[in-house]
């Protein structure tokens, strides 16, 4: 078992250095994305390889649900279960809701007595203080991520979808609740509000458990940060994109890893 844990540590270290690799897919899965009257919906939140079958729960502490008025929307029944977290969202008004889990943390890597170790936390200073004295090869990395999905009552609008200007974000060209099979959707990706050119965006259709191939595909953003996604069929799709840059918020951090993970429902036309 020892070589395995060592390998895992090495892989995790690699993950932060190579933007393309991602160990586990974190996702939000709403029961409904397009509804014709005000109502509550439920959302599952989990980390899994089998898209979208829950495997491990994660904390909902940072959950941010924004309503069509741009303000926080009502949520209920936040619960972290064994295999998934769940919560309800009140789609009380006409328009679009953004359901998001933003993440911002630091990772400290170091070697102590020849053994590789790592710690993570939200406060870089506090994290560096936790690194034992005498540790060497200390490295600090920053991670900014967003897990998102969307739901709309009636005609979709974009007030709730305004980018925060921090990290890797999706800006709708095509609205994420206006996706139909056989059509091409355009999304714009921005880093700190600026176009993310040359970004690789990976797409994976739901239901991997019941097929032999992932059937994923990759699109690359143009100079304006825009990607064109042709939906091969109706269903739910997992989208992930990663980038890294030097735009760190703590002077000791070597790099900043940026991550966007989204769930999109494509309807048959």
């Amino acid at each position: 078992m020892k070589p395995v844990s060592l390998a895992a540590a090495a892989v995790s270290a690699l993950l932060l250095l190579s933007p393309a690799a991602q160990a586990h897919k974190r996702w939000l899965l709403p029961t409904h994305t397009v509804v014709s009257e005000a109502q509550w919906i439920s959302v599952d939140a989990s980390v899994s390889n089998d898209i979208f079958y829950p495997d491990r729960a994660y904390s909902l502490e940072r959950l941010q649900v924004t309503g069509p008025d741009g303000k926080a929307a009502e949520t209920d029944h936040l619960l972290e279960m064994h295999r998934r977290s769940v919560f309800d969202v009140n789609l009380a008004a006409t328009g679009s809701y953004r359901i998001a889990l933003p993440g911002h943390f630091f990772l400290a890597f170091f070697e102590q007595d020849g053994e590789r170790k790592r710690l993570f936390g939200e406060d870089a200073e506090a994290l560096l203080k936790k690194v034992p004295k005498g540790a060497d090869k200390v490295r600090l990395l920053e991670s900014v991520s967003r897990i998102e999905t969307f739901a709309s009552v009636g005609a979709p609008d974009t007030a709730a979808l305004k980018p925060t200007g921090k990290g890797l974000e999706l800006v709708p060209v095509t609205h994420p609740n206006d996706l139909y099979s056989g059509e091409t959707a355009r999304f714009r990706f921005v880093v700190d509000g600026k176009p993310a050119a040359g970004l690789e965006v990976h797409l994976l259709p739901a239901g991997t458990r019941y097929r032999d191939a992932q059937q994923d595909w990759t699109v690359t953003s143009d100079d304006n940060g825009e990607v064109a996604i042709e939906w091969p069929h109706a269903g739910r799709f997992f989208l992930e994109a990663e980038a890294s840059d030097q735009n760190v918020s703590h002077k000791q951090a070597e790099r900043r890893r940026l991550e966007y993970l989204g769930t999109f429902e494509v309807l048959p036309l």
């Binding site: 078992m1 070589p3 395995v4 393309a20 897919k25 390889n49 032999d212 992932q214 990759t218």
Partner: protein, 162 residues
């Protein structure tokens, strides 16, 4: 029918020198965002798809993903626990890998007949593929039998030596 005693005699004569059963598998190099070396299982099945001899398993000691070798799991894996039957070892990196199953007691005990070698590969956040090579046991002559996978396994070669 009269030939049978003669065949049995020759089988007895060669019993001391066991037939050779070697498998070469090519693990493909894949350009994917997230790569994990595949779990691979080897077994011999009868024409009725029952397991005649479990041969081996490459995995990284994490039992969690063993069920993803779906056929191996159903046919033999789920009723075992570590250490698994046959030759087990760590997952292999892309490239060609040879395994010699000749010395396995299960091979020595395998009755004469028609069989298939089954090689199944399953990769975390990747795909799954099964490759089968029919063969006769014991081999009448030295032979190389091949099959080719398309996704998770490339060339699979079974070398039989009487």
């Amino acid at each position: 029918m009269r030939l049978i005693p003669i065949v049995m005699l020759s089988a007895l004569a060669f019993a001391a020198e066991a037939a050779q059963f070697q498998v070469e598998v090519e693990v493909p190099r894949l350009r994917v965002a997230e790569y994990h070396a595949p779990y691979v299982a080897f077994w011999i099945e009868t024409p009725e798809n029952t397991v005649a001899a479990p041969l081996g398993l490459w995995y990284d000691d994490q039992e969690k993903w063993l069920k993803d070798l779906r056929q191996w799991w159903r046919r033999t894996g789920r009723s075992q626990s570590a250490p698994y039957d046959g030759l087990t070892g760590a997952t292999r990196s892309p490239g060609k890998h040879s395994v010699d199953f000749s010395e396995l007691p299960a091979m020595a005990e395998l009755p004469a007949g028609d069989y298939q070698l089954v090689v199944e590969a399953a990769r975390e956040v990747g795909g799954r593929e099964v490759v089968r090579i029919p063969f006769q046991w014991p081999p009448a002559s030295a032979q190389q039998l091949r099959a080719e996978g398309t996704e998770e396994l490339h060339d699979v070669t079974l070398t039989l030596t009487p």
